[in-house]
């Protein structure tokens, strides 16, 4: 580090990137369905399908456009229980309902197959606004002061 290179200016870009990545919304990541046969399913592994999304994982929001004539079930993170997305509907889930999204599974409940491109998924990680910032502060406070015994390495 020479005279002109202060610690601040050599690190400020890193701070900006870090701040943007942690506090601002991620880009939108779009997925378009392949053919989904009757009672078959479509799996999206976000990090593997779109490596550019990896640094934003887990994503928080998802919008599902089911333009097909079949009902589908949405299993966030391949959970055992899913949520129905009726035919011809657009349904969105946000951070409050899902919180962390690394993979998604869609099962075709119908009797015939879904044509490629008839189900469109848009997913992103939302930016931090005031309640998100409060939630982070509260979590830190909860772990540090209210229940330090829970501040352990439990998943």
């Amino acid at each position: 580090m020479n005279k002109k290179q202060t610690w601040g200016n050599s690190h400020s870009n890193g701070f900006k990137t870090d701040y943007r990545r942690n506090y601002q919304a991620s880009p939108f990541f779009e997925f378009s369905s392949p053919v989904i046969g009757a009672s078959n399913s479509w799996l999206i592994d976000i990090g593997e399908d779109k490596p550019e999304a990896k640094k934003h994982l887990p994503l928080s929001n998802v919008r599902i456009v089911n333009n097909s004539s079949e009902n589908i079930t949405f299993f966030p993170n391949q959970r055992a229980e899913g949520m129905n997305i009726p035919s011809g509907t657009i349904i969105s889930f946000d951070r409050i309902s899902i919180q962390g999204l690394q993979s998604m599974k869609f099962a075709n409940l119908g009797a015939s197959s879904i044509t490629a491109g008839q189900v469109k998924i848009t997913s992103w990680r939302e930016g931090v606004e005031i309640d998100g910032a409060f939630e982070r502060m509260h979590k830190a406070f909860y772990e540090k002061f209210l229940f330090p015994s829970r501040n352990d390495n439990l998943v």
């Binding site: 078959n40 966030p76 993170n77 962390g100 390495n153």
Partner: protein
Amino acid sequence: MATQLRPFTRVLNAEDMNAGLTATDVEVPTGKYTKVAYYQIPAQQQIALGAGEIANGVDSREYVQVRFDSSSGQIAGKVRVGYTNANETNIQIVKEERTDNIGTASTVKLAEVKGLRAGEDSYLVVYLNPDSSTTIDYSDADNKLLLPVTVYQ
């Protein structure tokens, strides 16, 4: 972590992990990690993946074995083992291994993962990323899942 918890080692098999002979067959597309087995932590327990360690020249680790078959034999690919929380939003992978090493005759031991356990209602999960897309035939008698864990209660 409460200090009065006493550990014992245990090995989970396919029946324990909802991947037994009667489980519903699941498609496993290549290039993606599909959840193929999971175990929910019972009440009042904490479970760490893996069992044993190397200490004082004694290797007490136990073998991990994961073999799933499609209708045309063993499925080759990558296996990931990890934890998720109860609503499956926080996923922590602790091991990735090839089926070549842990399939038919395992050469891989899984030591206890120190400092990371799953608590009540959380899950231990196994993901499979096959080399080519196929479907797991859970009723195949060649399937084998042996996952050593350490139970604290």
